[in-house]
Amino acid sequence: MAHAYTPGLKVLHQSDVTKNRRLPIKGEVLKNIDDIVTPDVIVATTDLPGNVQMVKVSNLLNIGPGDINEAMIVAIGDHVKKDQVIAEMAGLFGLFKSDVKSPIDATIESISDVTGQVVLREKPIPVEVDAYMSGVVKEIIPEEGVIIHATAAFIQGIFGIGGESRGEIVVVTDSRSDEITSNLILEEHAGKIIVGGSFISLEAYRKAISLKVAGVVVGGFNYFDLEPILGYTLGVAITGSEELGTSLVVTEGYGKIHMSDRTFSLLKEHENHFASINGATQIRAGVIRPEIVIPLSKDQLTQIEDTKVQEVGIGMGSLVRIIRAPYFGKIGKVKSLPSELNKMESETMVRVAEVDVNGEILLVPRSNLEMLETN
């Protein structure tokens, strides 16, 4: 049977989800294998070296860099307080003493007799990594972090901002085609993840932020509305570090697009359940897509086998979404994968798939298809 390799987004009722929770530099791991964790539990901690200030002591004392050691009254490794004198020089006949004071609380890191500079380092900055999702510690990465495992419902979006967040799921629209309008966002949604259908406007998203909603999951958002939110034009899709308070996960794309039936139904099924979401995107080297993870309790587990579909690619009967005009957003089943090249309206010669969209057969370049992985 013909197959084509194509990227896919996961919409899974049940899946083994593992999360790598690592420190940016080496530190201490606080958990052990088999420990049960909840999203807010700190799993590893470390201290980042403090910020640095450089003081041009020789310039300030009007001496040559080579004379700096004579002027210093503190040594490398000493702790100094803000405004403490760190160097001084007697003036003419011992009069008119001049000195240099530390601009910050710090440790003396180096004294250079080439440049006449002193490097002062502030106290270390503590960094903590939490568990992000409920689960079990499966593996310890010595001095760096842990790998957490959970059996969960798992949905990937296409684009997100705002990074990690968590909360109870509330579906606020009646259907997958409805918009999340401002009047649907209420004060009681503070700390929760609201789910809607096809679109959220800038105004509605701003209201969600002001009401401290934990996250929004929606089918579409306008690309040009990102600029007023982020404060800059998003040129490259690398996101996740924005501090917005309300993470946004877009499941379909830019514009007004109905949320896929499967995604909406699955989220609806988990209404009032606790989920972790990550509004982070990176579409180069090491792809990161935004996600919604809903850990399942024992009584929610079923016998569904984890999907293996990604390894084989699309084949006849695969469920796909068309991801480029003129049929953008349509979902259908692959009817056939002809091997010969086909000429498109643009005159581009490509390999195509015949896709059955509600009985209508469309000829679509294979690279304009996205596989929907479901179980």
Partner: protein, 607 residues
Amino acid sequence: MELKSILATDCGSTTTKAILIEKIDGEYRLKYRGEAPTTVEAPFEDVTKGVLNAVMEIEELAGRKLLDGDNIISPQKDDSGVDIYISTSSAGGGLQMMVAGVVKSMTGESAERAALGAGSIVMDVIASNDGRLPHEKIKRIRQLRPDMILLSGGIDGGTVSHVVELAEILSAANPKPRLGQNYKLPVIYAGNKKAHEQIRNTLGELTDLDIVENIRPVLERENLGPSRDKVHDLFMEHVMAQAPGYKKLMSWTDAPIMPTPGAVGFLIEMIAKEENISVVGVDIGGATTDIFSVFSEKFNRTVSANLGMSYSVCNVLAEAGLDNVLRWVPLDIDRKELTNRIGNKMIRPTTVPQSLEELIIEQAIAREALRLSFKQHKEFAVELKGVQTERTISDAFEQSGSGKSLVNMMDLDLLVGSGGVLSHAPRRSQSARMLVDAFQPEGITQLAVDSIFMMPQLGVLANIDKKELSEEARKAALEVFHKDCLIRLGTCIAPVGKSKPSALILSAELVFADASTQSIELHEGELLKIDAPFEPIKAVLTPAKKMDIGAGKGMPIQTEVYGGITGLLFDGRGRPLDVPIEKGKRLSLLEKWSEAVDEYPNKQLDK
């Protein structure tokens, strides 16, 4: 040593491309090509798997054995294997560097030129006078996780304190390498030789320090070679050795693996030298656009890290502005919907334009990405700054000063485009139009595209050092470059100067290879296409009084020009090329120009 067959791969960030070159009847020709997805990332995490898959495709096409299990058979025996195997790589984000220099526009710029020339992406240039306070520089260095750092500063024998100060900033920041936590960051020092000891004291313990000759031993001269070579060595030893599968790949190749843009640059530099011409080469990719140029025998490369056709397509929109993109679109399109469409291309970068409208939009964006990248290139490819030049009284009327751009479009002989949007445009006239609209060549300029982007493989082939191989490998690279790599589009003939609307600006008398003749009259605002194959055409070009075609205002030229798949393009639209803002006028002009070169299927455009 005679080479019967050469296998070369380029491991790109998404695709690994393999080519097989064979010597047939005394000449080297490209025989087959194969490609497969690159396998640097999970779940494979071994670059050699993608290489083997691409080679397997060639095996199938060629119907002969190249692999023995997981090994490339070498040398060739009977009909099996190849004589040499070589590779370039830009997988895993390529080579990412940070450079530092004392004065931003002098040693800072020289260091940047060396790093770019070696094929890296320059993440930032730290300089003593870059306007940032020391703690801001330190913060920035800590944020970046480069593959290596190139530190320069000071002329030999000059002041040492400034460059040591930079080293102290680096030391305080204690930067970590991008790949892996378990090795020291490579730092190359190429500054004032008087500071070697102090640099060793400051950075020797903390980093993996290498010291090479000064990049700017005297103000008047750049010495980029030693730094460039060291970057290549460290790329192999450190960066590549950290990437999954590269140790194995390195053991297979007969020459060191080069960063992809480094290899392309080497090839372009070689072609310009061999043929004594000025060349501009461009590679427009999904994320970045690389521009290479050789003018007055000086090579320059720039990489516009966030100007590309998919991953960074929205950045093109942000930097160029929607109006500048739309000025190339001969259709009336809803502006807001268009931005969403472009956004969707960014988040789904592998899609291809199915409708004509999508293709037109994509090619409009390409024009702007190319224009902006070339603008950056022109600003960077300049004469050395800080050099005192002797002036005569005549210079008083032409104060160009030091730092003048080397790029002179009237001198440009050959413009080569590559990258999906140029190499795979459904009609070659579309590629020619994109190149001409974006680069705006002046006078007489040959246009070409790299058929399947094999310049990286040919570059590494031409750069083989091994004595017994180098001469033959270089010959093979040149032969394949001319016969199989370049698709000759034709020649752009564009007079420059002031003229009245619709005035006659150029007359041309052409004598074709079959002795047939043709007279052309080009008027201001016109674009004309004359069909002619890639053969020499005798041409007498006579510009109007105030127009210049290369020999000066009003001066005729008798020369030989070449046609190609598109033919000769007579471009009377002026330089700089201004497209009217007013919608009705703009749409009618765009349609006229499009029709003139048979750019799009017109019936569908009318729809």
